[in-house]
């Protein structure tokens, strides 16, 4: 009987191994327990583009808050810190380099994030999902005692430019089924945006922790006349400069001629 018993153990073991991915997938399903789509997936920036909005719809686990981040790629930025000279005059002084901070970050939620639990910074919690949480991935050179203040100023500068925002009230919920609720978010897209690759990240937040998250890519493309112009300006810059000058001269002459014919004396 012993060999049979061993065979049974092997069989159970084998079945267990085969079922492991299924159970582990169920166990790891929490971070991906969100479904959503974003429309449009491509933002067409034509001559009359003046900002737009993205509509994200999907589901999050019941009892959680859907927080969406429309975020751009991280880039290197060289800046100057302003300081006083002779204790009197404000000037651009020290050079600073910011790395790892996105060129755009629009956060959308139904409620004010500062009212929710789990404000401490860290990528795993709500704190890491706010504008202040961007500090986790930031690298500021030189890294000195004033770096924290420099980060705060950076956020303020980007907020003034309309590229960093925490918007409240643009996420609405509807009842769903099987422990999930539906959401619909209208994400504002600023006019001051560069073409390129962006991401809409969705996080389901409960008790200050991210219990599920997911993301969708969004592309911003120049089309029509702006695409033509940008292609010329970056592809054949000398020709572009000469053409810009010639058209400016001709326009100036034409307007001059119009005025001469109207105001002859």
């Amino acid at each position: 009987m012993k060999p049979h018993r061993h065979l049974c153990y092997y069989l159970f073991g084998l079945i267990g191994l085969l079922l492991l991915p299924f159970f582990s997938a169920r166990a790891m399903a929490a971070p991906d327990a969100t479904q959503f789509s974003v429309e449009p997936a491509t933002i067409h920036m034509d001559a009359f583009y003046d900002g737009t909005k993205l509509v994200a719809t999907g589901t999050v686990p019941e009892g959680s808050q859907a927080v969406l981040r429309f975020i751009g790629n991280a880039c290197e930025l060289h800046m100057k810190r302003k300081g006083k000279i002779f204790g009197l005059l404000w000037m651009n002084r020290d050079s600073l380099t910011f790395n790892g901070l996105p060129n755009l970050c629009i956060i959308s939620s139904a409620v004010n994030l500062s009212e929710l639990k789990g404000q401490e910074p860290g990528a795993g919690g709500l704190g890491g999902y706010k504008l202040s949480g961007l500090k986790e991935g930031a690298d500021i050179e030189p890294n000195d005692a004033d770096s924290a203040e420099a980060f705060e100023e950076f956020i303020r500068l980007k907020q003034n430019e309309g590229l960093y925002r925490e918007t409240v009230g643009n996420v609405a919920y509807e009842p769903g089924d099987a422990g999930f609720k539906k959401f619909r978010a209208e994400i504002p897209v600023p006019s001051r945006m560069s073409p390129g690759q962006y991401t809409v990240e969705l996080a389901a937040i409960k008790d200050g922790s991210i219990i599920a998250k997911s993301s969708r890519p969004v592309t911003a493309d120049l089309v029509g006349f702006p695409a033509l112009l940008a292609g010329l300006a970056f592809g054949r810059p000398a020709l572009y400069g000469i053409l810009a000058s010639i058209i400016a001269i001709i326009s100036g002459l034409l307007i001059g001629m119009v005025f001469q014919s109207k105001g002859a004396h």
Binding site: W90, S191, A233
Partner: protein, 314 residues
């Protein structure tokens, strides 16, 4: 569907209100036509306030000044207000001075003092030029109304010292339009001075060139305005092509919108300028320069809203 009032600018990377940009161009063009200044020292800060990146604002402004100064210079040329010979000499000096100025800035940037020098030069130049012009034109207006003959005598006396020095210089030339006989070295020298200052300050230099033509070259005010626009046209042509080529910062759509407004403004300005007396023109320009100086001084003294700035703008 209504008229789309916004246009997306691919180089500036932002959308702008067409009416606001054309209106801004119109106001600055009007001043350009009246005073013969390019208006860069006014237009660039206003564009930055409207959300245009500083480098794009300055380069696109140069592009629009090409059109506006063509329009303005043409209007003044027809009125006989352009001294081409004087303008060319100032231009040659300006190009030489500009090259020297760029090198000075490069050295100072390495030493870390460039921003300080730029800001201080701005405030000092604007303050000295604006203050001197204001006081001088005010005195001149009083003199002409109260003691015209005595003042004329004094002016002659003053001029004789200055004239003696000028006559002692080699390569004397007659500038018919301006009605002066001076050495060609004089406009060349002042061209170099303005070229250095405008390279340091990052502007066309019209608001420095105009007072120099009036007080140092003793040119009549109406010829000064036309000749200044003529010289600015070529300076900004060079800047536009170089900025587009090297830095990709010329937004042609932005420039065209500004140009439509500013060309119309420049034409109106030239007509208004013709109706104003020389002293009135000088006192108005002096007031404008002093207002900009006070604004810049305030910016230096007041705590900025954000204590960070992008590299490239000042």
């Amino acid at each position: 569907m209504g008229f789309p009032f916004h246009l997306y600018l691919p180089i500036a990377g932002n959308s702008v209100n067409i009416i606001a940009i054309m209106g801004l161009g119109g106001v600055v063009g009007l001043l350009s036509g009246i005073f013969g200044v390019g208006g860069g020292f006014l237009m660039t800060p206003l564009l930055i306030m409207m959300g245009i990146p500083p480098t794009v604002a300055a380069a696109s402004d140069s592009n629009q000044i090409v059109g506006a100064s063509t329009s303005g210079a043409l209007a003044h040329f027809r009125l006989g207000n352009v001294d081409v010979k004087m303008g060319l000499l100032l231009l040659v000096g300006g190009v030489l001075g500009g090259t020297v100025g760029v090198q000075i800035i490069a050295i100072l940037r390495r030493l870390g003092n460039a921003d300080f020098l730029i800001n201080i030069t701005y405030v000092l130049m604007l303050g000295i030029i604006g203050g001197y012009m204001f006081v001088e034109s005010l005195q001149s207006m009083r003199k002409t109304s109260v003691e015209a003959p005595a003042a004329a005598g004094k002016e002659k006396e003053k001029e004789s010292v200055y004239a003696r020095f000028m006559k002692s210089l080699p390569w004397q030339m007659e500038f018919k339009r301006s009605g002066v006989n001076i050495s060609m070295l004089v406009p060349l020298f002042f061209g170099v001075v303005v070229g250095i200052l405008s390279a340091i300050m990052g502007v066309g230099g019209g608001f420095i060139m105009v007072p120099i033509m009036v007080y140092m070259l003793r040119m009549p005010m109406h010829v000064v305005v036309g000749t200044s626009l003529f010289q600015i046209l070529f300076t900004c042509l060079n800047v536009t092509i170089m900025q587009a080529w090297q830095n990709h910062t010329v937004d042609f759509i932005l420039a065209l919108l500004l140009l439509i407004g500013s060309s119309i403004g420049a034409q109106l300005g030239a007509k208004i300028g013709k109706k104003l007396k020389g002293d009135q023109l000088k006192i108005l320009l002096a007031s404008l320069v002093l207002i900009v100086m006070v604004k810049m001084l305030y910016q230096l003294l007041a705590r900025p809203d954000v204590l960070l700035a992008y590299v490239g703008g000042h």
